[in-house]
């Protein structure tokens, strides 16, 4: 199935590059960024024409972040990868597909945008959910993504863990808090979209923990006012890292184009498009302009509490890690 997709994608690429002499760029990205990059690409093409004087075609490919990273590692010819978890790019760096120091190649840890975890509750917040504590109440059912199968779930878990740590709690207390929280979970969704579907279409649970950037798509797909957004007292910074795929640009000679594309994500225009899609821009000016969308919230980074996402992955989410312990010790 996957190899078929890769074959098709590369066929399409070969066909398109044969059909036109104009350079093409393939951006391999995660599932829910499809709309965002559609807008970015539409803006980038004229921008590139103006600055470099060349017509360019941008192709997109979207699926689960890790699945996409595996496809690129297995040979999908992406010029750039734009992911929602740093571990996916780390994996490519280990394979030598992207530069070892990819995080230093672009500003802000090579993450032009971020997001954070917040709560969606039913209209009018009937259960009065305000903060992380409320999620462990016996009368509350929580819908969340399985950290084993989705980055969304990993960030939700780490955000809850960080909430206890930031209050001055110990690791043991954090562990206890999380096992209480996961006892309230009736359904572990496979990915962000599954979770949203379970919460909104099946009416499962009272609260959904998800990315801030999902709010936009929920409003678009289900209509405004179906859910209320609740900002907890503190949450986590989820970086959306980007990198150039060295293997591909060496083959295709698209290095300058790939760099221009990723630089464009940092430009005011690119940041503005991100903000429109509820993805937090790094640019403070742009952020200030959209204060209505991005309520100020106390944030902590993965680095500050867990060292790095790869570290957190080892300690918490790999087989036999903390998350498994929560579920196997009943």
């Amino acid at each position: 199935m996957k190899s078929l997709k890769i074959a098709l994608a590369s066929l399409a690429l070969v066909a398109s590059s044969l059909a036109s002499a104009q350079p093409t760029l393939l951006n391999v990205s995660y599932d829910v960024a499809r709309e965002f990059y559609k807008d970015i690409n539409a803006a980038f093409v004229p921008h590139y024409k103006k600055t470099a004087g060349k017509d360019v075609k941008v192709e997109q490919s979207h699926a689960g972040s890790s699945a996409q990273a595996r496809a690129v590692a297995d040979g999908l010819d992406a010029d750039v990868v734009t992911m929602n978890t740093t571990t996916d790019i780390e994996f490519l760096a280990e394979r030598g597909v992207v530069a070892k120091d990819w995080a230093k190649r672009f500003p802000d840890n090579a993450s032009p945008t971020t997001s954070t975890m917040l709560f969606l509750v039913r209209e009018g917040n009937p259960k009065g959910i305000k903060d992380w504590e409320d999620l462990t109440r016996p009368d509350v059912k929580v819908v969340v993504v399985n950290p084993k199968t989705g980055g969304n779930g990993r960030y939700a878990y780490l955000a809850a863990w960080g909430y206890i740590k930031k209050k001055g709690g110990t690791d043991a207390q954090a562990q206890e808090f999380l096992s209480k929280l996961y006892k309230n979970v009736p359904v572990l969704a496979r990915g962000g979209r599954d979770a949203t579907t379970a919460f909104l279409q099946r009416n499962t649970g009272d609260v959904l923990i998800t990315f801030e950037s999902e709010v936009e798509s929920v409003n678009r797909e289900f209509g405004k006012g179906k859910v209320d957004v609740v900002y907890p007292s503190i949450s986590i910074v989820a970086e959306n890292p980007v990198a150039i795929v060295e293997r591909t640009i060496a083959k295709k000679g698209t290095g300058d184009l790939a760099k221009a594309y990723l630089d464009f994500l940092y430009s005011e225009e690119g940041q503005e498009i991100a903000a429109k899609h509820s993805i937090r821009p790094r640019n403070q000016k742009v952020l200030a302009r959209h204060v209505q969308t991005f309520k100020p919230i106390k944030l902590f980074t993965v680095q500050e509490l867990f060292g790095s996402l790869s570290e957190a992955q080892k300690v918490h989410f790999n087989d036999g890690g903390q998350f498994d312990k929560i579920y196997t010790v009943r």
Partner: protein, 295 residues
């Protein structure tokens, strides 16, 4: 993991009194050529991809392999996958037989349409099946809303897994039993009736022996298909570790950690269990055929 594995020739021990006498002059020519072609084709389509899977697991030491395939979460998922597949296939044997019986023995308006409907689970993308079943059975669904107050929960727990597997396995049983039922001679049943057999005796002594091999094949196919099923199940299972995680989901979870070796290890175990089970079912079938043939 297609159901085609069920049609693999079960390597019977040489002592088996097979009806064909090897070594004697063969009536049909071209055995060598066709056997060669069969083996080549099977190797290309089935064996080579599967051996690649096994080779991938050689990257692990024996201890790592054992740790990967025997952790409690994984073992719980084997139980659910094989248990639910077995239940679903069993359910399909009974109801699939009923359905085939009605389609073969009776005439009624709209029969053609019903007959065509049976094949739908074959054609429908499994994800669509999973989503529609969940929409029906979840707490706010058409059916779920009446069952939930009674404390019957069919979605987001192992029940949902069984239901999804019943759905995808149904055509296998119906389509394997149907032609055999059509071929059974009505005269035999009439003769049995004339000789004073009760209806039950007629069924168990005359009809059942004739269709049992086909039923077993249908069971094996439905079962094998269910074991490998992913698309429809994940939407309705709830995917809770130790409770409602199917093995294919565990494999996906391992891939998410970039643990290729672990994923292939679990897949290899699945393959091994499935193969042994299919072998047993095929053996049963051969035994049944010989018994029916000898009787």
């Amino acid at each position: 993991m297609a159901g085609s594995a069920a049609t693999l020739p079960a390597p019977l021990p040489a002592t088996a009194a097979s009806s064909r006498r090897g070594g004697a002059r063969k009536v049909l020519p071209g055995f060598n050529l066709t056997l060669g072609y069969t083996l080549l084709y099977l190797s290309l389509i089935v064996l080579i991809p599967l051996s690649a899977l096994v080779i991938k697991t050689f990257a692990m030491s024996w201890d790592q392999f054992w740790a990967a395939v025997s952790s409690p979460r994984v073992v719980a998922s084997y139980r659910l996958t094989f248990g639910a597949s077995f239940l679903a296939a069993l359910f399909n044997v009974f109801f699939g037989l009923l359905l085939a019986w009605v389609l073969v023995r009776y005439r009624f308006p709209g029969k053609k349409i019903v007959d065509a409907l049976v094949d739908l689970p074959f054609a429908l993308p499994t994800a669509v099946a999973g989503i529609s079943l969940t929409a029906l059975l979840a707490g706010n669904g058409w059916i779920g809303q009446y069952l939930e107050p009674l404390g019957i929960q069919l979605a987001f727990n192992p029940n949902g897994v069984v239901i999804a597997l019943i759905f995808i396995g149904l055509p296998f049983v119906v389509r394997t039993v149907q032609p055999v039922l059509e071929d059974t001679e009505r005269e035999l049943e009439e003769a049995a009736m004339c000789l004073g057999a009760t209806r039950w005796q007629t069924f168990s002594r005359v009809i059942l022996p004739a269709i049992l091999p086909a039923l077993l094949t249908g069971f094996a196919m439905a079962f094998a298909r269910a074991v490998g099923e992913y698309g429809s199940v994940i939407f309705i299972a709830g995917n809770m570790p130790m409770v409602s995680e199917i093995t294919p989901l565990v494999i996906i979870g391992k891939l998410e950690q970039y643990d290729y070796a672990g994923a292939t290890a679990v897949a290899t175990v699945m393959l091994g269990i499935s193969f042994v089970l299919l072998l047993v079912i095929n053996g049963l079938q051969a035994w049944q055929r010989r018994r029916a043939g000898a009787g």
